[in-house]
């Protein structure tokens, strides 16, 4: 998959993939943030984002990607996502009655209640759902790309 230096594919692929990268990331962010309105959500959007990072790993080579963002950094990103999830869930105790309760419904932050039945979709709804979607999205982007990076680095160790 790479030349003898182990530094990725041809320059055409490198340029094209670095141009595509921000667009894929924006699409991933869109899927994550509209999780409570359209098909998709944190996991799906996270997988799209992770595939963008994997594309960079394939195009530029594992070593190069590691210098930019190592496994440790990516998995710290993931840890932060997980922490946000649990902390939001724990806020359920303080703001409402139980762990994981949707305490934001009815407030001004994501708290609007949509009209019943068919509607065009209002972003400012869903309570804690968009926040949790975002946390999970961060987790999945960080986690999956860290796994692929770790596997790519280990396979390079052989030769």
């Amino acid at each position: 998959m790479s030349d003898e230096n182990g530094e990725g594919l041809s320059p055409i692929v490198k340029v094209i993939s670095s141009m595509l990268f921000p667009f894929i990331m924006i699409f991933s962010f869109y899927v994550i943030m509209h999780g409570h309105l359209t098909p998709g959500g944190g996991f799906q959007g996270g997988a799209i984002g992770a595939s963008a990072v994997v594309m960079l790993i394939v195009a530029f080579g594992a070593r190069h990607t590691e210098r930019r963002a190592g496994e440790e950094k990516l998995s710290a990103f993931e840890s932060i996502g997980g922490t946000v999830f649990v902390v939001v869930a724990l806020f359920g105790f303080i703001m409402a009655a139980t762990f994981m309760s949707n305490f934001l419904v009815g407030t001004s932050v994501f708290g609007e209640i949509p009209p019943f039945g068919s509607n065009p979709g209002i972003l400012n709804t869903g309570g804690i759902l968009p926040i949790l979607n975002f946390a999970v999205g961060m987790k999945v982007i960080g986690g999956l790309s860290a796994v692929v990076l770790a596997m790519a680095l280990v396979s390079r160790e052989d030769d």
């Binding site: 309105l37 649990v86 419904v105 609007e112 949509p114 949790l132 986690g143 796994v147 770790a150």
Partner: protein
Amino acid sequence: MRKIAAIVFVAFFAFLLLAAYDMHDFGAPPSAMDDYVIENTQNETGANNAVTAVVFDYRGYDTLGEATVLFTAIAGVMVVLRRRGKNE
């Protein structure tokens, strides 16, 4: 050993076929719990997408577990594929 495995495999397969034969008709499931979710998604969670409402609200605790599974597997991959060179 392979013969025993073959017998177990065939028995398992027959067993599953029996299960498929006995299932409810395709396309007409019982739905008491799901109907409640469909009808109350919008006013209880404020979300238009009932699947997301189930994933993050009604069964949000499962999603916490699922995120944990992913985190666990990733920590596991990091443990198994760690380099031993730099001894702490």
